[in-house]
């Protein structure tokens, strides 16, 4: 038996399992709480790269899986909205290599603009979904997702939540002999590598109607077969009734109900429920789509009260009811925010009274020395109407700036700003500015810029790129505009000014946001006064990232010197 005992976050457990399972490529876009998966995969020796956005990441993943390689694609919950176009048809196709899509949901919105429940995506797209309860299961389900995906040639979603991604729990990895060789180990043949080749299969991969119609039937057949497998041997854990199991002798909540009550739970909510009612029978479902309905029916038949404890929307309880299983859900108030042990106790007790308000802590703020501060001071003083976007700079909405008027989704600043300009009277329209970060601009700003040039408002428009040369919010990741790849090694660099000029933006200017003498306010005023399309790049490295960026640049310069010395040596011979 393997005695290795590691204390890992769910994110790190997924990365470790991906490495052990022979994943050939990991791709994604940074987003809390998913970001660390690819960073850890890279650190452990896996091949990981940041894509411009989640849709591109999934498309690259689909290609890699078509080539027979085990592939990992990571994103936060809202990222799957961006990738949804690819997802909904990828499930019609046959993938040869396991294609694992990690969706990291954020119930409670610790660091997100909504708390959408991505279990709906599994049902809508027809993608099998696994939901671990802790890091050990995150590790095991990463393997399982790849294995199921290869058996049925179907992409599989691993749904994590904040308390799985960022909670550390004990993991015992699979023994060495079951693991695949790491990428850089040439002494052991990588079986996945050997298997990889292009296998032409037009009807399974070219989704024109003639091929997509039978493909949709095949998808439903695959899901029916996976549902049967889930009933027969899927990852379901049943905890028997054990009244008063707490060794401290404290009476268990619900222990009086123990013979009658049965709980069905998924994800971290299963842990909260176990702790809230340790004496109660509980069925934890691991493969939550398609459901093991026969097993659930059998469990339901043995209890008098069947209670579903799930975080977020009433997805599982609705599914059970649709299948004719009498199940009790939670009061509506528990749809909002994360669950915890206290809330699980309330759900079990049927307590729908007002909950105590959580303590109000100090809200986050833009760092001291942050280059965004000067920009938001200027926008505030000019009384601009600011269409904002997603990133650190969203904090410009808080006092003392209060200089943001809209924030919806990645890239929305440009489209929303244009819409405001089209609809507002001229005097107000001329005050509208779109503010977007550098990574967000690469992610979803380019098409907005095309729209500005193609359908310019009568008053023109001004887009401000707050370029701090990193994806700051999620922990300073690289992107195509930094000129460095995920592991910070040099790569091609996308130049925003050149792109904007080539796209036909009339005025393209750059300011050094660090230059205190320069009047940012005057530059913005001057551009707003012209009824033309304008892009102003306010550039200064993030204060947190700047020291690291200097190190990366130094390392790159040294590598260049060594390369040219080696070159010279070769020429000399």
């Amino acid at each position: 038996m393997n005695q290795e005992r590691l204390l890992l976050t769910g994110d790190d457990a997924v990365a470790l399992a991906a490495l052990h399972a022979g994943v050939a490529l990991g791709t994604g876009y940074p987003g809390t709480p998913s970001t660390e998966i690819l960073e850890t995969f890279d650190r452990l020796g896996g091949r990981a790269q940041w894509a411009p956005n989640e849709k591109v990441a999934l498309e690259v993943g689909i290609g890699s899986a078509f080539a027979g390689a085990r592939t990992l694609v990571t994103m936060k919950h809202v990222g799957l909205n961006v990738a949804a176009d690819a997802l909904f048809t990828a499930t019609y196709t046959d993938v040869d290599g396991g294609l694992l899509i990690v969706s990291a949901d954020d119930p409670g919105m610790a660091s997100s603009q909504n708390e959408q429940d991505n279990r709906h995506f599994a049902r809508a797209a027809g993608a099998p979904m696994l939901e671990p309860v802790d890091s050990q299961q995150a590790y095991e389900y990463t393997w399982l997702a790849l294995e199921l995906g290869e058996r049925w040639k179907i992409p599989v979603i691993l749904r994590l939540t904040t308390r799985i991604c960022h909670a550390k729990t004990v993991v015992r990895p699979r023994p060495l002999e079951q693991r695949h060789a790491p990428r850089d180990d040439s002494s052991r043949p990588d079986d996945a590598q050997i298997k990889r080749h292009f296998r032409r299969d037009i009807p399974a991969r070219v989704m024109i109607p003639a091929f997509a119609k039978p493909a949709h039937h095949r998808l439903r057949e695959k899901l029916a077969a996976i549902s049967d497998w889930n009933d027969a041997e899927g990852p379901v854990t049943e905890h028997p009734a054990a009244p008063n199991s707490d060794p401290s002798g404290k009476p268990d909540v619900g222990s009086d109900d123990a013979p009658r009550l049965g709980i069905i739970a998924t994800g971290v909510a299963a842990m909260h429920a176990r702790e809230a009612a340790p004496g109660v029978r509980q069925l934890n479902i691991g493969l939550t789509y398609p459901l093991p309905l026969t097993r659930i029916r059998a469990f339901a038949a043995e209890v008098e009260r069947l209670l579903v404890i799930e975080e977020g929307d009433p997805v599982l309880v609705d599914d059970l009811r649709a299948a004719g299983i009498a199940a009790e859900g939670k009061p509506e108030r528990f749809r909002f925010g994360e669950l915890d042990v206290a809330r699980a106790r309330r759900i079990i007790a049927g307590d729908d009274t007002t909950e105590p308000a959580p303590a109000k802590g100090k809200p986050p703020e833009l760092c001291q020395g942050c280059s965004h501060r000067g920009v938001f001071e200027a926008l505030r003083d000019l009384d601009c109407i600011v269409a904002g976007d997603i990133g650190c700079y969203t904090l410009g909405v808080l006092p003392p700036f209060s200089a943001m008027d809209t924030c919806v989704c990645m890239g929305a600043s440009i489209g929303v700003g244009l819409g405001l300009r089209h609809a507002l009277p001229d005097a107000e329209a001329r005050r509208v500015v779109s503010v977007i970060g550098d990574s967000t601009f690469v992610h979803s700003g380019l098409t907005g810029l095309a729209e500005m040039v193609y359908n310019p408002p009568e008053t023109g428009h001004l887009v401000l790129i707050l370029d701090n040369e990193t994806t700051a919010m999620t922990g300073q990741q690289e992107h195509p505009g930094t000129g460095r790849s995920l592991n910070h090694a040099p790569s091609a660099k996308m130049h925003f000014e050149a792109v904007a000029r080539a796209m036909g933006v009339q005025n393209v200017e750059v300011v050094d946001a660090a230059d205190k003498d320069l009047s940012l306010k005057e530059r913005i005023s001057a551009l707003l006064a012209r009824d033309e399309t304008s892009l102003l790049v306010a550039r200064q490295p993030c204060v947190l990232a700047a020291p690291k960026i200097r190190l990366y640049e130094k390392a790159a310069a040294e590598a260049r010197t060594q390369a040219s010395t080696a070159c010279a040596a070769v020429t000399d011979e």
């Binding site: 809390t32 709480p33 610790a110 060794p247 100090k362």
Partner: protein, 173 residues
Amino acid sequence: MITNIVIAGLGGQGVVKASDILADAALAAGFDVKKSELHGMSQRGGSVTSDVRFGDPVHSPVLSPMVPAGEAHLLLVLEPTQVEVARPLLHPEGRLLSPELIEPGALKNKKSFNVAMLGALSTALEIGEDNWQQAIQANLAEKLHAINAQAFAIGRARGPGPGPGSGRGQGAR
């Protein structure tokens, strides 16, 4: 039983680092351990709390990774303004370790305050000093080992000693 510990402070103070060290030390001491906190906004100076729970792997495995509000046996606060913010997390009979334990000027480097506070906490827990030192070294760069070992010792000298929630008598070694 499970020992529930919450560490509270502001982003940038090393709350998460302190909880990483505590969790690793408890793991090395043979306990089952879970810890969790909310990342993301923590670097921007806002309030941060991190929950660490541990217990006997056989008799008291940890289930939920979060400490229920009002059930922390020990509350370690790194920043004076956060004492009242975090107090509702503490069990009525739990113990508060407030930042006043370590007077300003006691430490050579203010950045090791989080580790000094762990030193104070360590006197209330049944985790061996070797486990603590090992965890500190595993979580910090080598050049910081000496200064943090010193900070830990300074905190340990000011610790409250054993009491409720110390994890004693669990036989988890």
